[in-house]
Symmetry: C2
């Protein structure tokens, strides 16, 4: 855990340079706009520790999978979001000496991420080896108003010398992925062009043949006057730099504005890319930095109006929740159903930037609650589009008859994880895809989704489960062998309770969905039956499984068993671990982790979270009290679920501890891995922990319910919520809560268990 | 399964060219001499399917491990025996047209491996694209008499033309490993020299810095007259070729002799390598092909005198057993305790040529029975030398206090496997290392080995097991979680019966060994106690485990369970599989294989084989009858164990079926993988299947026992055996068996259960 970032309600602040944490800072100060984004790398050269990262949504590379011994069913490739051409670079030389914060003495340094405005800001004063002192101020953003544009304002002031300062703004497509499995480069240069103040490079990804044109235009002024001098062109195969050197006196004020365009073939024909990029860059340049920034800030202002959560009395918590919301909206804006939310968004390479079950299990509620139906629906349609591939995935493993297995990791629907040990057997993911449909319909009331898309997905998933179980003679029940549950510190276990439970639930829900479509849209239902080749026989088989599934339990303890045989382990609680053993995955051998009782992330408890209403409170409590002390929360997806369950059980201290852990996971680097990038998908879990945990939000039977609690340390908190046609605001303070209904229709809602009607544009205290 | 090789008692024969099976033939016709060896690649160029392979004992490369996600305890590298510089190459051109069996029309072709003489022979007639017809005869061997020398006689006859025939014998050190994890080349050129008729290249392996000097000298004659013309030198960075072109008339007889020296830095200082190579090559050349060959043949004659097994009435079986014995002695001769037996010997790259538990479990009995005490002892000392590394291996996994975990795959004692899924958790291997000590002492009576080397190894291994088990509260017994047994179609199971059993046995045997050393060498014992830091407390702990270990059983079926929960699987027998499903590992997904009940290789039955006398026959039978029908024998190490158990149970047909499967595994390509190389270590299993299976050999209580059976199809079989100071021969015919004692001392032996004394140099029928 690290605590070097300052607490502030709206800003992330690094005061004083921490080169040893630079990669962490690069992650935390990342900016993006849903279409492209980047780590907070410096504009000028930096020879210290750094992970260079710039990413363009949906532009990926199918890197050859790295396994010791490929076996049937293993994926052929591991898709990764590519490190894209660098558009931020501005090399600076002072009388031929390179400006580099790793070699210069840093006299002062401040880096800020202003979340209210969506701006990355940096100010520093350095003394170079020559003794020359320089003051630099950088301001950068990826425009939310025009998501093809990025802009930088880079100001330099010589403090104690006169001399020649040279700027080389550049575009560099000769970039690598640090995590390339085979140390290959993934980009091929296709075309380039350079003019007086502008440069454009079109590069193409190997294998996938995506093209991205990255362009820039810059202007340079000294003390407010434009520098008109010609630039010297430095052109390499996949690089163009334009150098301008200016004679300066001590105290002069140099300002470089760099405008960039990032245009990808996902949105344009390849032939148009460069023309479009020139257009975009020229337009940005003509508009100018100030105006561009203003438009960008306006989008954030609007977003915050809908999505902000205000916490009074706890700056760390306030900063944490805003950071999470901010990063989520930088990553995914929901306007393109071909896109999804990578676990690291635009902030790092790890996990390849692909789609995981995180989207369905964690991100969906956030977008449902803050962005409305269409964004959430796009996330569902994304999976519908991948159904044929999911069927192929299942076929590769030996399943037949339209059984669908959604991938653990994917870009285009094909499974593309990079390892066997953890991901291969995590078939529970299939359950989350089905659950998301249920969750979406429960929240939005959009039952129509079933006949349009949902039912086909549900049937494919149900078919997978019906084939994946088998009959156990000794038990005289159906069992499921060889799985990994959400707890990735186990592998190839038999009868993981969560997986068994969600499998049966999927079968039930698919049958219910069928009944619904049959009665509401009989014609469409007939059409679907034919398309799916579904008959009575199959539904009988499903019912037989539903009625005869085995669920491992410990009768004596009154708990569900994470997997069969779990109590045979040496049971010890996390508090008996030595601090130097944590995190386990960085200190213990895999052999030891697998055998231990320690749980990486909610597993049985994930099931209790999803299916809360199916278990009574005593059951919740017994399971929570058994599993929570065994859980190390070394997955970012764990603490939020525990926070919600603890809230429900009135264990407010535990809930608060878990909340802080998820809210500040990256800012405080809890798991010692923020340097790889941020845990974007788990940030949605933070929102859930607050809204569903402290706020006690539940959506059930077409009615919302709230049962809020105010953490002791806080004065109040308030959050917005979209619910069908309503815009709500809930404020929870020391003296009670207030629900505002900011819409033209009254709202029926359950407050602390009591049904209440909140008038249109009115409020109710409770 | 393929049946294209002809049956013959002493030879492996390919009649007619089978280019589609060429890689299989290259494996089957491999030759070697314990120090170096090679696949049966052609001397002349071949552009068809081929795996080029030439290997030098103990010269390996630590290739970076290939895993998707490295975890603590994974090995850093995967050691592999390197494809070594090619010394066999002789390019042939006819009037500028390259001789290449892939492009020429092959009019006749015969390839023979003469196992009696240790010679690879090839004869073919081809019509080249130009219409020219050529007859070629190649004879090649790796000298067993001088293990630094290889020699080739290459004869060419123009059949229907006159023209210019050019020979380019060469040395090529610019070779690659087909299985290189990262497509790197592993050799660096260090020095080279070329003269009129000779060439030398010293190359060094990257990282490990082994050096090998490979040299050649050749002579060429036409119709018995030496060709004196100068050679044209073609020299590249890691290649030297010497070209001589000869004008020929139709019917001329050209003979090229190529003598090679392979000198490695494992036996000489690096500075001496080239000098030594020149010396060796010159000497070979001066000796001449005929004399060299004669000396080589004499070694084989002597070997066969001691190790041959004669089967009358079944040519396929006869060929099979000789093939196995031949390949074993080509691979390992036992004179260097730094060497061991790679699963593929010198016949392929797969498994990296490293040491596996195969050596202890399968090869040791063969070398004990045929080569005498010293060779077997060297195999044991090999592991003693690795004890410090085995302790390090255990430490890397979190074990302490001198616990030793021998590696699954190794070159120098470090674990260096390439994957997690199968090998990582196969800790049962540790048991086999201890068992080999027991087996060796039981057979040789060399109890002294314990105090000298054995005890330290046994204690290290016992310490590992004592830490690897843990106490199960529900069972009130010790359990062992997270292992893979010998059956590699399971992974990460709990309480594998074989592993639990051998673990406890190791603890017991270590305690017994201690008692023995204590009473026989009290002083040495005291010394060892101090060195090992062993005390009463520790032995108490071991006894507690021995007395309270859990062994999974199915009471109803009366069998031991391969692992806890096994009966929960869907149990079906192998005969219900469709032919197109076999072998499973080439047709089923890993997900499906893991969940299935099908067994790759003897697991519970391996334990019954090792510890036969600890279980009654009924127990053997029940377990065999349960597990045999579930076993697919897709490991080469399976059928031999089943053959021995079936013999014991009087299931002679099954025993014979299993015997054929192991004896002709590679010749008939049972598992569709002979192209990768031969299954060298499992060949020792064939010997065991015959001698321990059909022959009923047992070594117990300082006395041998035989209980032979003659398979129905055979007229007789006879095998030699070394037993302490005795040289025995057992002949089993239709009318009974005869045991000859070819030594100057009488022998007490148990024949079909009856103790008998066989007089010195006498024989007994039974």
């Amino acid at each position: 855990m690290k605590k070097y970032l300052l607490h502030d309600e709206w800003k992330i602040i690094e005061e004083g340079f921490n080169p040893e944490y630079n990669e962490i800072s690069e992650s935390c100060f990342s900016i993006g706009n849903g279409r492209f984004g980047q780590r907070a790398n410096f504009e000028e050269q930096y020879s210290g520790k750094s992970l260079q990262g710039s990413y363009v949504a949906g532009v990926y590379y199918p890197d050859k999978t790295r396994v010791g011994w490929w076996k049937i069913g293993y994926p052929e490739y591991f898709a990764k979001v590519l490190n894209a051409p660098n558009w931020i670079g501005i090399d600076v030389q002072v009388d031929g000496e390179v400006l580099d914060l790793a070699t210069a003495k840093v006299l002062s340094f401040r880096r800020e991420l202003d979340m209210k405005r969506g701006v990355l800001y940096r100010h520093f004063i350095v003394r170079m080896l020559s003794g020359k002192e320089l003051e630099v101020t950088g301001t950068r953003f990826c425009s939310m108003a025009n998501n093809e544009v990025g802009a930088i304002q880079y100001e330099v002031k010589p403090l104690n010398f006169s001399g020649l300062i040279q700027f080389t703004p550049y575009i560099d497509a000769d970039v690598v992925n640090q995590d390339a499995n085979w140390d290959e480069k993934f980009w091929i240069g296709i075309a380039k062009a350079a003019k007086r103040r502008s440069a454009y490079i079109t590069a193409e990804t190997k294998k996938t043949a995506f093209q991205v044109c990255t362009g820039m235009k810059f202007s340079l002024s000294k003390n407010g006057e434009k520098v008109k001098q010609e630039a010297v062109q430095g052109i390499e195969e996949k690089y163009i730099g334009l150098s301008v050197a200016v004679n300066c006196e001590k105290g002069d004020h140099l300002v470089l504005h760099k405008y960039a365009g990032i245009i990808s073939s996902r949105y344009y024909d390849k032939e148009q890319l460069m023309d479009r990029c020139v257009e975009v860059v020229n337009e940005a340049c003509n508009t100018g930095f100030k105006k561009l920034l203003k438009a960008h800030e306006q989008v954030w202002t609007d977003k915050w109006k809908e999505a902000d959560i205000v916490i009074e009395g706890d700056v760390a918590a306030q900063q944490g929740i805003r950071f999470n919301i901010f990063q989520l909206y930088q990553t995914y804006t929901g306007d393109d159903p071909r896109l999804n939310i990578g676990p690291k968004g635009f902030t790092g390479e790890k996990y390849g930037g692909s789609t995981y079950w995180d989207t369905e299990a964690y991100c969906l509620p956030f977008y449902l609650g803050t962005a409305g139906q269409n964004v959430a629906r796009n996330l569902l349609v994304y999976r519908y589009r991948h159904l044929p591939k999911a069927i192929e995935n299942a076929e590769k493993l030996g399943f037949t008859g339209g059984a669908a297995l959604y991938p653990m990791v994917t870009m285009n629907g094909e499974e593309c994880h990079n390892e066997w040990e953890i991901t291969f057997e995590e078939i529970h993911r299939n359950g989350a895809i089905a659950y998301a449909i249920f969750d979406y319909i429960r929240y939005t009331g959009d039952w129509d989704y079933l006949q349009e898309y949902g039912l086909e997905v549900l049937v494919g998933i149900a078919r997978f489960w019906a084939q994946r179980v088998h009959w156990s003679e000794p038990k005289q029940q159906f069992v499921m062998h060889g799985v990994t549950g959400p707890n990735e510190y186990e592998n190839n276990v038999n009868n993981n309770w969560y997986t068994n439970y969600i499998a049966t639930w999927c079968l039930k829900y698919a049958l219910e969905a069928m009944d619904f479509v049959q009665s509401s849209k009989p014609e469409r239902f007939g059409e679907l039956l034919g398309k799916l080749n579904f008959d009575e026989e199959e539904s009988k088989k499903w019912k037989h499984i539903i009625d005869n599934m085995y669920y491992p339990e410990d009768q004596e303890r009154g708990i569900f068993l994470q997997q069969e045989g779990f109590p045979d382990k040496e049971i010890r609680t996390v508090d008996t671990l030595r601090p130097e053993d944590r995190p386990l995955n960085q200190n213990w051998s895999w052999d030891r982790i697998l055998r231990s009782c320690f749980i990486k992330q909610a597993d049985v408890l994930q099931g209790l979270y999803f299916f809360e209403e199916q278990f009574d409170e005593a059951t919740h409590r017994r399971n929570f009290e058994f599993y929570e002390p065994l859980t190390v929360h070394e997955s970012s997806l764990s603490a939020c679920v525990h926070a919600i369950l603890a809230s429900r059980l009135g264990m407010h201290d535990k809930a608060y501890e878990m909340y802080l852990r998820t809210a500040r996971l990256d800012l405080d680097d809890y798991n010692n891995d923020t340097e790889d990038g941020l845990h974007i998908t788990s940030m949605a879990g933070t929102w859930m922990a607050l809204v569903e945990g402290f706020g006690g939000l539940r959506a059930a039977a077409d009615m919302l319910a709230f049962d809020p609690h105010l953490p002791d340390k806080w004065k109040s908190y308030g959050f917005h919520l979209r619910w069908r046609n309503h815009f709500l605001h809930i404020l929870v303070g020391r003296d009670g809560a207030v629900l505002k209904n900011n819409s033209g229709q009254p709202l029926r809602v359950k407050l602390r268990g009591n049904p209440v009607e909140v008038p249109a544009n009115g409020e109710v205290g409770f």
